[in-house]
Amino acid sequence: MTAMKSVRFREAIRMGMVEEMERDDRVFIVGEEVGHYQGAYKVTEGMLDKFGPKRVIDAPITESGFTGISIGAAMVGLRPIVEYMTWNFSAVAFDQILNNAAKIRQMSGGQLHVPIVLRAPNASAKQVGSQHSHAMEHFYTHVPGLKVVAPSTCADAKGLIKSAIRDDDPVLYMESETLYNLKGDVPEDPEFLVPLGKANVVREGGDVTIISWSRLVHISLQAAEQLAKEGIDAEVIDVRSLRPLDEETLVASVTKTHRAVVAYEGWPYGGVGAEIVDRIQRLAFDDLDAPIERVTTLDYPMPYNAKLEQFVIPNVERIVGAAKRVAYRSA
């Protein structure tokens, strides 16, 4: 039996990074305030003391610069972890990510790999305004050459950061500010890995499949509880890996329930949710009893006003409504 340790989400990420840095001295971390300040969200707390300033590097406020330097480091054999204060700020490093991290392997004819991990909190927090609330997975999953993961539990946070660090190609790792304090059991085994490209059925049910990731998995589980009270037995799937996508788990679930709702943060136009809907309708067409519904952030820049912000973000009520509609229970 694997020994478990109860930790917070931020500690689970740290455990994974520390284990990998102990395992492989090519791994280092760079970002704003990751060292002396112990991390903007205290994810890297204690790491500077443990590994010293050569492996825990405080960067100036130049995302484009330290992303580019890290990609270069990865090309010549190091394994950088780049922390952004939030994924919103990766926008200024977008050219590095799109044109270098994602392209070098193909343009070098496979001679070069970029074993880099880019990580940061993603999507809405609490009242951080429209420029700091972006769900950036929808931009990055579009790009061949990038892998994108978004854990929702402490165990997955550890298991996925370790797999990301060990992967030989760029992996974008998306956290959530609202999950950092979440507590959960994490295996202490340093070889505990959660593979990239594997979704997880976090609640089994037979009537409708609710598909989500990151923070919204917890909202979807609440919705499932509510639906259970109304006699609808919902299955909840944590996609975890947004690219590559675990079609098999999604299709198996929908083949069982015949109805699906995809719930996530991000605007409704295009995006990962639309991609998931496409895969399901194509691969499980004959098993669908209803059109698939999506529950997304409403199609507005995020409002600062707390009430409006909660109105715009997907919530339990909207997921329950969508699940009832696809199950043909009036909602």
Binding site: H258, F285, D287
Partner: protein
Amino acid sequence: MAKIIDMPKLSPTMEEGQISAWHKKEGDAIGVDDLLAEVETDKATMEFRSFDKGTLLKILVPDGSIVKLGQPVAIVGNAGEDISQLVASAGGGAAAPAPAASPPAVSPHVESPQKAAPAEGAPAKEPAQPAPAAAAPAPATAPAQPAPPPPGGRVRASPYVRKLARERGLALGDIAGSGPHGRIIAKDLDGKQPVARAAAPSAAAQGPLREPESKPLSMMRKTIAKRLTESKQTVPHFYLTIDIDADPLHALRERVNEDLASAADPNDKNAPKVSFNDLVLKAVAIALTRVPAANAQFTPEALLFHQRIDISVAVAIDDGLITPVLRDADKKSVLTIAREVRDLAQRARAKKLKPEEMMGGTFSVSNLGMYGIDEFSAVINPPEGAILAVGQVRREPVVRGEEVVPGRRMAMTMSCDHRVIDGAVGATFLKALRGLLEHPGQILVL
């Protein structure tokens, strides 16, 4: 003040109609008598015209919907009016339930055939009282109910339902869908039994049988099925067949058509011409004047002996069959009959006949001679008392005097409703008919 427009009664026997096409869209201004939509009834495609002036505020049922008589189809009022209350009260539009149709019964109110009212002799199962009795609107608060699949339209079913139907051998055509727009969803299949399949002919047969193509019933098909089943199950048919010497009729027809052609413009495609059927129709009409007992109808209260000779002429059309009525056939010349039957048949194929042109026949004639049929028995077209099934003119050896010579014969079978026409009456009628057809000069002058 906005108001709900209901599905009107566009034919006397109509119980429901299918909106084939809306001719106005929401927001259009409409005037009295403007064409709102075309509606396929049990008989024909009818024009649905406005009784009101205003703006078409809302269409409650889309093209292709089947709507029971008296159910809401649209809202008309002044532009910009708040119609949310009306929309709510209209309920599910086409999806709302309709009251059960009046039970089919021969009406005690059928008017005496002596009065030449246009509605007389209408198919007897429709009560003659005014429409509202059969058209009481559904309770306004009724929730949307499963709607039957649109006849002639595509069955709406979820992909999963289609898969289940394939696996279980279910026909989706007659399953009511409870989902949006009548979509059949998985739970609608609960308890449904597979359609009967022929047993595998032998052990050698491998794999599943190929599924038949399922085609929803059109309004016409439903009507044919209902009326003819009722006829064959409730009307005691018996059959009398005669086989006449058709040489004189053939000779007469040749002669008449030659003479007509000599007077006509050779390039005129519509130049007058008579067919065997035109001659038979006229002969039947004359025979009915001679044997009026064969021009009769049964009702539970009384036997009705018609005072007019209106012959229903069976016309095959693309997806069914229709019987327009040739009025007062005994009073018309063969040429007039030829012209009228051609016109009726053309308009029947175009589904442009008015309902009154398809009802009130007193006797039917069905001719399959042009398909090479020698002889057949027809199903009586209720509420009529008889139908004559006419075969082709056959070339064959016939006995003349003591010799066998080439000749022509023509068989016809009369189906009689024994409740009103007995064997002797039918035989007398056929004897008169034979006399006319074998000495056909009379047909031209009577």
